[in-house]
């Protein structure tokens, strides 16, 4: 089978996830070195759905630097952006595209191997059901406690209305992409902001920012919604440098957990910093992980604006409890370990119960 054929199923799922409709303008936003096969596979799938496809190759935009005006104009004019580079959605132009122009924006892992993987073929109906259930759990039991065997001990009180994302046509419910939709592909997560400054504790991160395997664990100390210490080796120093002197860059912006059991935790193969950032970001989509984001929180509906896009960190084997209910047990999403009839039925329709089983790490 040639490479493009191997990407077809994932690309079709990607286009379906974006809810591409006939006549819509689809923008594939790439950076130098992007995999041509990924661009071509998504283009073909989008055109097959009736979309009008444009491809724009831009230079990576450094943290805190506005997007170039032609890029900003393009993402605001598009109905849907597949963003293969450093995420634009957290920039001002990306924010305005979603909130004022209704642009749907999906951050896509740029490597062909990911688009060919089971993670990219993961049935969207199962993802939406997992999202609906986990969001409801957090809203009902908003006191969340996270621990792991490396020393993480973290607590946050979620505000029910600040729990999302991937909201479809109905409030509070993940569903098919509607105007303004923001997400990643492969999907996805349940996420919430810290609107009430309740985040406190210690987070011992397995990976953060562009550092897939830091020489020393990166440790964030969180106090009343702010990251007040970042400890560790040279990687921690690089993160401190990235946020130095930038207002609200140390705000505890968001946290959540992955829902897709097929996302691999293998290191990325792309070499650019942007691609390494997207690798760590994609790990946050893995069912059983817990993630945190530091930076401005206006995308979460908060008041603390920052030019720093969120710097993400991930815990690979956490235990996460909402109230007394354990949602993640040592890196395993419990509702996948004990699927009920509805989940089993959905997975059988999609080809088998294997969809609920985590792939090897």
């Amino acid at each position: 089978m040639n490479e493009l054929a191997q990407l077809t199923h994932g690309a079709l799922n990607c286009v379906r996830f974006g809810n591409v409709k006939a006549g819509e303008h689809v923008l594939i936003l790439a950076e130098p070195g992007a995999d041509d096969a990924v661009i071509e596979a998504i283009s073909i799938a989008a055109k097959g759905a009736g979309g009008v496809v444009s491809v724009l190759v831009k230079e990576p935009t450094p943290i805190g630097v506005p997007l170039a005006p032609p890029v900003a104009a393009a993402i605001q004019a598009a109905d849907l952006v597949y963003d293969l580079g450093f995420p634009t959605v957290h920039s001002e132009a990306g924010f305005l595209a979603a909130f004022d122009h209704g642009t749907r924006n999906l951050i896509v892992r740029p490597e062909a191997g990911v688009l060919a993987s089971e993670a990219a073929r993961f049935p969207l109906e199962i993802f939406f059901l997992l999202g609906k259930r986990t969001q409801a759990r957090i809203r009902k039991q908003p006191s969340v406690h996270v621990v792991d065997d490396k020393g993480t001990d973290f607590h946050i009180e979620a505000v029910p209305g600040a729990v999302g994302p991937y909201i479809g046509p109905l409030p509070y419910e993940p569903g098919p992409a509607v105007p303004g939709y923001i997400g990643t592909f492969p999907p996805g997560t349940t996420v919430w902001g810290d609107l009430n400054y309740s985040a406190n504790g210690t987070l011992v991160l397995d990976a953060a920012f562009s550092f897939e395997a830091p020489g020393e664990s990166i440790v964030w100390k969180v106090k009343d919604g702010w990251i007040v210490e970042i400890d560790g080796g040279r990687e921690a120093a690089a993160i401190r440098e990235a946020i130095h002197g930038r207002p609200n860059a140390n705000r505890f912006a968001e946290c959540g957990f992955g829902l897709n059991p097929k996302v691999s935790l293998a290191p990325g193969t792309a070499q650019s910093v942007a691609a390494r950032v997207s690798t760590v970001l994609s790990w946050t989509r893995r069912a059983g992980t817990f993630f945190v984001g530091m930076g401005g929180n206006t995308l979460m509906g908060g008041r603390d604006a920052s030019t720093v896009v969120p710097i993400y960190g991930v815990l690979k084997r956490p235990t996460v409890a909402a109230g007394a209910e354990v949602l993640i047990d040592a890196g395993r999403l419990t509702m996948l370990d004990m699927p009920d009839d509805e989940l089993v039925s959905l997975s059988n329709k999609a080809g088998g119960k294997e969809w609920l089983e985590p792939m090897n790490r």
């Binding site: 209305g161 600040a162 939709y181 401005g296």
Partner: protein, 133 residues
């Protein structure tokens, strides 16, 4: 920033701004959502009811009214709302700057985005209304 509108209530300003929904197609993006939009500033709270992309009522909001399924609250200083009514800021610009706050943004992003598009189109309609014949 916006001119001083202390003598004009936010209810009157909201009524004047959203009224153009009934004379244009600017409400297309909210047509699917029966939104009760609450605009809350330090001293005023206004409820703007949108149905089928049209404005049906602008009333004073009850202080203790619960957050309903289709209710969307935006909180900000009065001058932020005036900047939006004046066309100086879009909803996105005010939110990006942390000046406009939607407590349920993440769970109702669909409604926030639909409203943002509607406000942008309404601002365009208001600018057009000022053009000479």
């Amino acid at each position: 920033m916006a001119r001083a509108y202390e003598q004009i209530t936010m209810q009157i300003r909201a009524q004047a701004f959203f009224n153009l929904l009934n004379e244009s197609d600017a409400g297309t993006h909210v047509a699917a959502y029966p939104i009760d939009l609450q605009l809350t500033s330090a001293n005023e709270a206004v409820l703007v009811s949108l149905r089928n992309g049209r404005l049906t009522a602008v009333t004073e909001a009850a202080e203790s009214a619960p957050i309903g399924y289709w209710k969307l609250e935006l909180q900000g200083d009065r001058d932020v709302f005036d900047a939006i009514f004046d066309g100086a800021w879009t909803l996105g610009e005010a939110m990006y700057r942390g000046r406009l706050f939607a407590p349920e943004e993440k769970a109702k992003h669909n409604l926030v985005s639909a409203l943002g598009q509607t406000i942008r189109l309404l601002q365009k309609e208001h600018r057009r209304a000022l053009l000479p014949d």
